[in-house]
């Protein structure tokens, strides 16, 4: 079977499903829109975590940053932001239709660019860290983002900002945001398919498998890592701008920088679906989101315990993920490219290697 035609068929089916879904299930438009957001989360996490082997716990930083940048641009184009955040608690400020859409368009664009720039700035700092230090360092960036935003009065501090209200009826609003998220997620998947087929895909895979060797082969590892982080930031920033406007109200700790919910979901979805594959994150996001939406209400406060248990179970017992498992079981049908290296034995600790006549 030729992998290429199968892939393009999948894309067509996905596009069809994405367009048909809100028309077939109009009551669940918002839930399906969030599903596309989850696919965005998982696929962008996989650029660094799966393909490049840098397991980040702080990608949500770009999401929240994009959300806030977009809010500031949307409001700042027409009003003074400090006055708006101070006044919005008492008075309702109206945006005209024209103001709303121009502000929103510039907001999304600014969010993407600002998050990409932040990605570039962060890349100067985080890529000197490896393994757990990278994870903890990026988590620190995300938590610091939440805490600093929560103490910044100009953007409403911990009580958040109410964004401009969508001019139009609720049904049109739902469809508008649905198609924005769908378009962004679909665009990301097309972009990633192209990206992973270029030299870039091979280079980041080489970095994952052995960074020192990749560098010795003459790859500019630092540039590749930087570009990967900038791409992640760009898409997550735009996703944040759209999601912020979809909810209509943004707030630092639980909506913009939710380090214990969305931030962990993205890692979990990728692990569930299969790290380092194009479709793994999509499959993982779909399964995770459906299970979560269906079961969450029955847990009555126990849902976060269930989440913790799920993390442990997936991480300990099922780390190759669904697509990874398929590739392992049916290699001739599903494996189109080089598979990620599976670590079977503990990597020798640094001090072992440095001992004279040490292990190995």
């Amino acid at each position: 079977m030729s992998g290429v035609s199968l892939q393009s068929l999948t894309y067509w089916l996905l596009a069809l499903a994405g367009i048909a879904a809100p028309l077939l299930f109009p009551d669940y438009t918002n839930e399906i829109a969030v599903l596309w957001l989850m696919i965005l989360f998982a696929s962008t996490w996989d650029i660094l975590g799966g393909q490049m082997g840098y397991n980040s716990l702080g990608n949500i930083f770009f999401f929240g940053a994009g959300m806030y940048v977009s809010a500031v641009v949307q409001i700042g184009m027409f009003y003074d932001v400090g006055m708006y955040t101070a006044a919005s608690r008492t008075t309702h400020i109206v945006f005209t239709t024209g103001q709303y859409f121009t502000g929103f368009a510039f907001g999304i664009l600014a969010a993407g660019i600002a998050a990409a720039v932040l990605g570039f700035v962060l890349s100067l700092f985080v890529f000197g860290l490896r393994g757990p230090y990278f994870a903890i360092g990026t988590l620190g960036v995300a938590v610091a983002g939440a805490e600093l935003t929560a103490s910044w009065d100009w953007v409403g501090a911990a009580s958040g900002i109410s964004l401009p209200v969508f001019p139009g009826d609720p049904y049109a609003q739902k469809l508008f945001f649905y198609f924005l998220l769908f378009a962004l997620a679909f665009g990301l998947l097309l972009f990633l398919r192209w990206l992973y087929s270029t030299r870039f895909g091979l280079a980041v895979n080489a970095i994952r498998d052995d960074e020192e060797k990749a560098e010795a082969m003459g790859l500019h590892t630092r540039t590749y890592k930087r570009v990967a982080l900038v791409i992640t930031g760009f898409f997550l920033g735009m996703a944040g701008a759209i999601f912020g406007n979809m909810t209509g109200f943004i707030e630092p700790r639980d909506i913009a920088f939710p380090t214990t919910t969305f931030n962990i979901f993205m890692v979990l979805m990728v692990l569930l679906g299969g790290k380092g594959t194009l479709w793994g994150p999509v499959v993982g996001a779909a399964i995770f989101h459906v299970i979560k939406e269906v079961t969450w209400i029955y847990f009555l406060g126990w849902q976060f315990i269930a989440l913790g248990v799920l993390i442990v179970v997936i991480v300990v017992y099922f780390q190759q993920g669904i697509v990874g498992w398929l590739i392992e079981t049916y290699p001739d049908r599903f494996s189109g490219r080089i598979r990620p290296k599976v670590e079977t034995d503990r990597a020798p600790a640094g001090r072992l290697a440095s001992q004279p006549g040490g292990a190995e």
Binding site: L129, S151, L310, I311, V312, V316, Q319, E343, R346, L352
Partner: protein, 303 residues
Amino acid sequence: MQNVLDNISILVNAPIFNLGLLIDGLLIGSIFALAAYGLALVWGVMNVKNLAQGDFIMLGGYLTWGLGTLGIHPLFGLPVAMAVLWCIGFVLYRTVISKVISRDLFTSLLATFGIAIVIQQALNLTFGPDTESANAHLPTWDFADGVITVTATRLVGFVCAALLAIGVILFMKNSRMGQAIRATAQDVRGARVLGIDTEKVYQFTFCLNAAICGAAGALVAMVWNVQPFMGTTYSIRLFVVVTAAGIGNLPGVIAAGFGMGVFEQFGGFLLGAEFQQALIVLLLLGILAFRQLQQLRFRQAVQ
């Protein structure tokens, strides 16, 4: 901003306040040092970064507080918390940790993160999100006309932490198990060749760390207060301490623990308590950046 400048001028004009903050910081820092030693132990021996460390502490704290509401003095609650946490550590080791030791480091990080979520949410569901504190019924002493106050609980906490730390260090130095643990930390393969059951060593180390956390938690509940979601802040704090000192550098870990306590007291006084978490996280980022600059000289990454 004005607030901060006012507070700085207080510290400059009345140096005696500095002494008060310093003493408080050192007394609280002793607890950080104890728990950070546990973290460094597991990290160094098993190469597992335990992100649930802070939540173990909260668990110990809640146990002590719960026993306190039944009329048991926190100082007697401490050994109970240690024993219970030892058992919990055993169960967790058998079900989760033993299966992730040989995997890559992110796996163990994520697995312990999952454990942390389970513990903090379980505490939240059972005890509610309020802050609780175990009352030890001990007096408060004033020095320098009431400017410096030393509460006896903090002093007792300091003494307990010091005694426990000395006990653990002596155990590591002199007992057979302590020697086996140190041997495993130095060279796993070598230890196995010499007939050390490293699996048993790992299990013991993890249980010992959990018990140390239980004791630290009991002291935290007595000296300060406990709250289900504070565990994450403790984990980050301890991570900062160990990262700043470097694993395997025991005096460094203890000194950094004290330093953390003093830093927090001064930071909290200058900026206000609501900046506490932001301060700790920024300190973490600062230390990671500093470590990178250090490693840059040898063209190495922080790993």
